[in-house]
């Protein structure tokens, strides 16, 4: 890898399946022989709060589970507002971002205590700030795959398809096969493929 340690952040909201996505990615890196450390921030915040996973990959030695401020090299974003929040704090000057465009409104916005920024404005600012930014309709693709909840696996597919990290597609698929079985395996494999294709070509 050109960057070592490589720092990947998955950001989302409680209930969107952050931990499963970080598990698939970190497991795939581990199978590929890397040192991997993952830090999950959830807990009481899982009830509608922000959820963040830090994944740190190195070929030299293991790192601590938290990424230092300003050192995030890749952001996999499940929710536009959360991407913006993470980008400001953790984005490295070379940061690359792959994100779902569907907003998840916080209670504060619904209660009109503060407004959710316009999606177009959020995305254009994020595009301006990142070295490379890909926006996909992750939730819609997940629905096509058979379950809107599978947007997390769609985003893992998109992350894989962008080939920002040197991992083969079949290794991700192996991690998916080890994680799911039956109908869930079918839906999640489809979700991964749709995400992969959405950014390919």
């Amino acid at each position: 890898m050109t960057t070592d340690p490589l720092n990947i952040i998955i950001s989302g909201v409680g209930g969107q399946g952050n931990i499963l996505a970080s598990d698939l990615i970190s497991r795939t890196f581990c199978e590929d022989g890397h040192f991997v450390s993952v830090g999950e921030t959830y807990g009481a915040t899982q009830r509608g709060g922000s959820v963040v996973s830090h994944i740190r990959v190195s070929s030299r030695h293991p790192y601590g589970p938290l990424i230092p401020l300003g050192e995030g090299h890749i952001i996999v974003g499940f929710e536009p507002l959360e991407v913006y929040r993470i980008l400001r704090e953790y984005g490295h000057e070379t940061v690359r971002i792959v994100m779902n465009d569907r907003p998840f409104y916080p209670l504060d916005a619904l209660q009109k205590k503060s407004a959710y920024p316009s999606i177009d404005q959020l995305i254009s600012r994020i595009k301006h700030a990142g070295r490379e930014v890909r926006v996909i309709s992750g939730t819609a693709l997940a629905r096509d795959a058979g379950n809107a909840q599978a947007q997390n696996v769609v985003m893992v597919g998109a992350f894989a398809g962008l080939k920002w990290v040197p991992l083969e597609k079949k290794k991700y698929l192996k991690s998916i096969q080890e994680t799911f079985s039956g109908a869930k395996l079918e839906v999640n494999t489809r979700a991964f493929e749709l995400g992969y294709q959405a950014v390919s070509g």
Partner: protein
């Protein structure tokens, strides 16, 4: 065979495991035969892991009624010669502390290990408690791992130490170990094959005369601690600065040294055997340097222990600068958030400061484009009760009933999902939050103050699992003292906050086997306290029931039963809920957007374009409470063709 990565019988395989999975793995590799716990974050998955494979591995695993009983169950296995594990969060150790302090005096037999999980930053707790301070008064040796793999290794060693010394051994985990994941190379699984027995020579008696023996047992471990590979030093022979680091802070210390490029003049001492400190080793490290920095989580425990030792050997060690939380060199209670939590930036700042170097955290981000990102007023994401949560309905009913009553009544809570009753999501209904069952205990006190002129009704809320854990004694107390209050039991049929573990009312045990249950209704009736049963989803009825009960006075119990919405949503067809755009008057209604702004269920959203209320169909669970409260009756609930209202 149930196969997850953590329990694979594949020695040498390199996996990625969470700290909790690694701890469970350590217990399997040590050959445990009994595990008992009460669910508490961040360590809840340890017993879940063990229970999932318990029967096939010949282990008995249980969710006990509370942490004290969990430790007692594990101790019984130890007294019978088996290896046993007990797991609890920091708050739970306080509950078990009374028993723990007796164990080193009475002695034990089979290896007994107590895993305690602290929560620096209080990610899923009401407070940050550093349980390391509880090891010395209990006379319990204390270990602290730095990574998930370290935790697995340490757990195996802890069982050996326990059997060697005749003392229980405590392993302190923190959130950034429990909820972190890292590479673990699997070791061989060991089947616990000991036959439990208690012979006539086995006596486990607590008496003050065993105090000396307890200290001798602690001292007997000194040599093991001195020789232990869990303590190690990395760095130059005579560093300008030595960092003492324990737990996950060790990784941050190593990274700080790497980022600052100060490998030539900074040493790092990783401390794994935190109490009692290995005296010779620690003195040897202190002699290398006149400047020492401490990196650890929550309170300055290692810092204090090291300074006590240095004071004893001051002639040999000479003057030393101790930099840490006490000296103000490591930010602590002055921090804005995550008060006791360490992170790589705090660590790097502290090391740079100790070396008089300039260092700006986030220095890797001077990218011009990022600096251009304007500071937007981003809405916060406060934790909220889930869509369809029965607690939301209960809090709405309590708040409304107390307002209708008009005597400035107040509600008392405790910990669990319903602690969110302090936030806007629960209409800030509860006015006290302390420990398990404390709302009911406080109500027992408030309810006696009526006689002295306190004319405000007190209402205690308590969850079902919490009621079994710590709510029965305060109810009995109220019954015999004649205290007057309304206790509302928010029964969602599970231990929801920690991920739906069973409790004594569930009729199923940790291993998924059917067992007898103790229904709350029968339990309260058995105490001869008047009890009313209700359904929080029947919102208007519930409001009137609460109002009637507080007006009636005396000691009352209201059992509000409705399954946790997250659990109920699994696999069942839900009612379709939608807004009738004709009936909804939008901002012209005068309801102030009641559903999305006031009732504030996450599924009640606002369609800006239409200027009307809307329902997020992905989130909505179909409970229908908002429909019952909408002043225009504009929210429609459709159950299998039926349409209401």
């Amino acid at each position: 065979m149930t196969e997850f990565n953590w329990n694979l019988d594949a020695p040498g395989k390199r996996c990625i495991l969470s700290g909790n999975e690694a701890a469970a793995r350590g217990a399997l590799e040590a050959g445990i035969q009994v595990a008992a716990s009460y669910p508490g974050s961040p360590s809840v998955q340890i017993l879940e892991c063990l229970a999932a494979v318990a029967r096939e591995r010949g282990i008995y695993a249980e969710w006990s009624i509370n942490e004290k009983v969990a430790l007692e169950v594990a101790a019984a296995a130890s007294f019978s010669g088996l290896r046993a594990l007990s797991v609890m969060k920091a708050d739970g150790l306080n509950v078990a502390m009374d028993f723990l302090t007796t164990l080193p005096l009475s002695g034990i037999r089979g290896g007994l290990v107590l895993v305690v999980s602290d929560d620096p930053g209080a990610h899923s707790s009401v407070k940050e408690e550093d349980t390391r301070y509880l090891a010395p008064p209990a006379h319990v040796p204390l270990l602290e791992p730095a990574t998930p793999e370290d935790g697995r290794d340490m757990l195996i060693w802890a069982f050996d130490l326990s059997e060697k010394s005749g003392l229980p051994v405590m392993v302190r985990l923190v959130t950034r170990i429990c909820h972190a994941r890292g590479n673990v190379t699997l070791g061989p699984l060991k089947s616990g094959d000991r036959q439990p027995n208690v012979s006539s020579r086995h006596r486990f008696i607590t008496a003050a005369r065993f105090h000396l023996r307890t200290h001798e047992r602690l001292d007997s471990l000194q040599q093991d601690f001195e020789m232990s590979g869990f303590n190690h030093y990395t760095g130059p022979e005579t560093p300008a600065l030595t960092i003492f680091a324990t737990g996950v802070s060790h990784a941050y210390a190593m990274e700080a040294v790497e980022r600052l490029g100060v490998e030539e003049n900074v040493g790092v001492f990783k401390v794994g055997t935190v109490w009692p400190l290995p005296e010779k080793t620690t003195r040897g490290i202190l002699k290398r340097s006149r400047r020492v920095l401490f990196l650890e989580e929550i309170e300055p425990f290692l810092e204090d222990q090291t300074k006590i030792m240095a004071a004893q050997h001051w002639e040999e060690l000479g003057p030393t600068d101790f930099l840490g939380k006490r000296s103000g060199d490591v930010p602590w209670i002055m921090k804005e958030r995550g008060i006791g939590e360490m992170d790589p930036d705090i660590a790097a700042q502290a090391v740079a400061k100790a070396l008089h170097m300039d260092f700006q955290s986030g220095s890797g981000r001077p990218g011009k484009k990022l600096e251009d990102l304007p500071e937007m007023d981003l809405p916060r994401r406060l934790p909220s009760l889930c869509a369809g949560c029965p607690h939301r309905a209960s809090y709405w009913a309590i708040k409304t009933a107390l307002a209708l009553d008009g005597r400035k009544g107040f509600a008392l809570g405790d910990i669990g999902c319903y602690a969110l009753g302090v936030l806007p999501t629960g209409y800030q209904t509860i006015r006290t939050v302390h420990s398990m069952g404390s709302g009911v205990g406080l109500a027992s006190g408030f309810g006696k103050l009526r006689e002295m002129g306190l004319d405000q009704p007190a209402v205690a809320v308590i969850g079902d699992s919490t009621l079994y854990h710590a709510g029965i004694p305060p109810l009995i107390n109220a019954k015999i003292t004649g205290s007057q209050y309304l206790c509302i039991i928010l029964d969602n049929e599970t231990t929801a906050m920690t991920g739906h573990q069973p409790h004594p009312g569930s009729g199923v045990n940790a291993m998924g086997e059917p067992v007898s249950s103790i229904p709350i209704l029968e339990l309260v009736k058995g105490l001869d306290i008047p009890v009313t049963v209700g359904d929080p989803y029947r919102i208007h009825e519930t409001i009137h029931t609460i109002l009637d009960l507080i007006r009636k006075g005396g000691l009352q119990v209201l059992l509000l039963q409705r399954e946790c919405a997250l659990k109920a949503a699994r696999g069942t067809a839900k009612a379709r809920v939608y807004v009738d755009e004709e009936r909804c008057l939008g901002d012209a209604c005068g309801c102030s957007r009641f559903c999305s702004r006031v009732f504030s269920c996450p599924a009640n959203i606002w369609d800006e374009e239409a200027g009307r209320a809307a329902i997020d169909e992905v989130l909505c669970t179909g409970c229908g409470v908002c429909a019952a409260l909408c002043p225009q009756g504009a929210i429609i609930v459709e159950t299998e063709g039926e349409r209401c209202p």
